[in-house]
């Protein structure tokens, strides 16, 4: 059932006057979490931009109750909270809202542990593809060739295929989403909320400051990432993998918008655009992700293993 925007209640979902930069994809994403899940939610937030976006005590610029927590253990803190609510007989959705550093790098051990235990939480990785809060340093999720303040001539390694790594834990639900297509994200969140166990949503979040683009283009660049095939939207549910409609139409590379259209709007890819060899490497990184996705779509996942 497609989501009709006009059906969403007229209310404030975010908290204006927060400390986010103009055009921030994180505050966009947080509004969608509220639209999707409502008020019966507690967020767990490790160090990152979202720690700062809240602004200064005694006010908070994110419209949820929050346990701010140390960088490396957001998933575990959420597991503890979820266990407590269960023991206290309260039905509360515990949602981790963590960046790519807090998820793929320093927080990876806790993420993997919570996934393996199938703890009843929703884990959202807000992937802006670098350590933005400390000033745009490379992360495990920075794509090949991207400029950061610790990769001045461009990153020399490909992006860690994190959604597939979480999928390999064979948890009940894994999805990718983007702030470019909020309805898709909202629907995936709503589905995740109906499932018991570990749910993971990887949210692609273009950052104007770190990717070097005009803040008015956040939504457009997020959409271009999907339209060029650079970011793939999919769902993995109970052992079944499927491409989401927004990505399904781009199986055939010929139907995709040329990758350059996505890259040229971003300052961080300027060296890639000038170097055909680097461009090919970045294409190879993207092709590899598509190869994995299409293999999974053909039924690589074993239904016997599903939880």
């Amino acid at each position: 059932m497609p989501l009709r925007l006009a059906d969403l209640p007229r209310r404030r979902y975010g908290s204006p006057g927060n400390a986010a930069c103009p055009g921030c994809p994180e505050t966009m994403g947080l509004r969608y979490v509220k639209m999707a899940l409502g008020d019966n939610v507690v967020l767990v937030i490790p160090a990152g931009c979202s720690s700062v976006i809240q602004g200064i005590r005694p006010k908070s610029g994110i419209n949820f109750p929050i346990l701010n927590i140390v960088f490396a253990s957001a998933a575990s803190a959420a597991s503890g909270m979820s266990s407590a609510f269960e023991m206290l007989g309260q039905d509360v959705k515990v949602v981790v809202w963590a960046g790519d550093g807090g998820t793929a790098d320093i927080g990876f051990q806790a993420l993997s542990g919570a996934a393996e235990r199938n703890d009843d939480i929703i884990y959202i990785c807000v992937d802006n593809e670098a350590y933005m809060n400390t000033g745009i340093q490379r992360s495990g999720l920075t794509p090949y060739g991207a400029w950061t303040t610790t990769t001045w001539t461009g990153k020399t390694e490909p992006k860690k295929p994190l959604p597939f790594i979480v999928l390999a834990h064979n948890v009940p639900y894994v999805a990718t989403a983007t702030v470019g297509y909020p309805q898709d994200f909202i629907e995936k969140l709503r589905k995740a909320a109906t499932i018991r166990g570990f749910k993971y949503i990887h949210l692609h979040a273009p950052c104007p400051v770190g990717w070097r683009f005009d803040p008015s283009l956040t939504a457009k660049i997020a959409q271009l990432a999907v339209q060029t095939g650079a970011f793939i939207l999919f769902e993995y549910e109970n052992g079944r993998f499927r491409l989401s409609p927004y990505s399904g139409m781009y199986r055939d590379p010929k139907r995709r918008v040329p990758l350059e259209e996505y890259l040229k709007l971003q300052g961080r890819f300027q060296t890639v655009l000038k170097d055909p060899q680097k461009l090919e490497m970045l294409r190879a990184e993207i092709d590899e992700m598509w190869r994995w996705a299409l293999l999974l779509e053909k039924g690589m996942a074993s239904p016997e293993l599903k939880k």
Partner: protein, 99 residues
């Protein structure tokens, strides 16, 4: 399973709480950050609500009839609303000139 949740009782020693509550303006009136302001031309608006959906700040507000208006106290002027508007009903106008 159920148990009793903790009783919340105020501390009996000097206490500055490490806690906050969600509220607007945790970083002040962020409208002051703006260099350009969105101006909505309602005659072109088709009430698609894209500007309302994509606004990162919750500063595009819906009227009862679903036409939209801007909360200039907090709008940071990013221009996403103008960029996503399918009918070009929103102009970004430099601040500091004539109103």
């Amino acid at each position: 399973m159920s148990g009793t949740a903790a009783v919340v009782e105020k501390p009996k020693t000097y206490w500055v709480a490490p806690i906050s509550y969600p509220a607007p303006a945790s970083s002040g009136k962020t409208g002051l950050w703006r260099t350009e302001r969105p101006v909505i031309h309602l005659e072109k608006c088709v009430k698609c609500l894209y500007c309302w959906l994509y606004c990162p700040e919750d500063t595009i507000l819906r009227r009862e009839d679903d036409y939209v208006y801007v909360d200039y106290d907090y709008c940071k002027g990013c221009g996403i609303c103008a960029a996503v508007c399918p009918t070009n009903a929103i102009d970004m106008v430099p601040e500091g000139g004539e109103s």
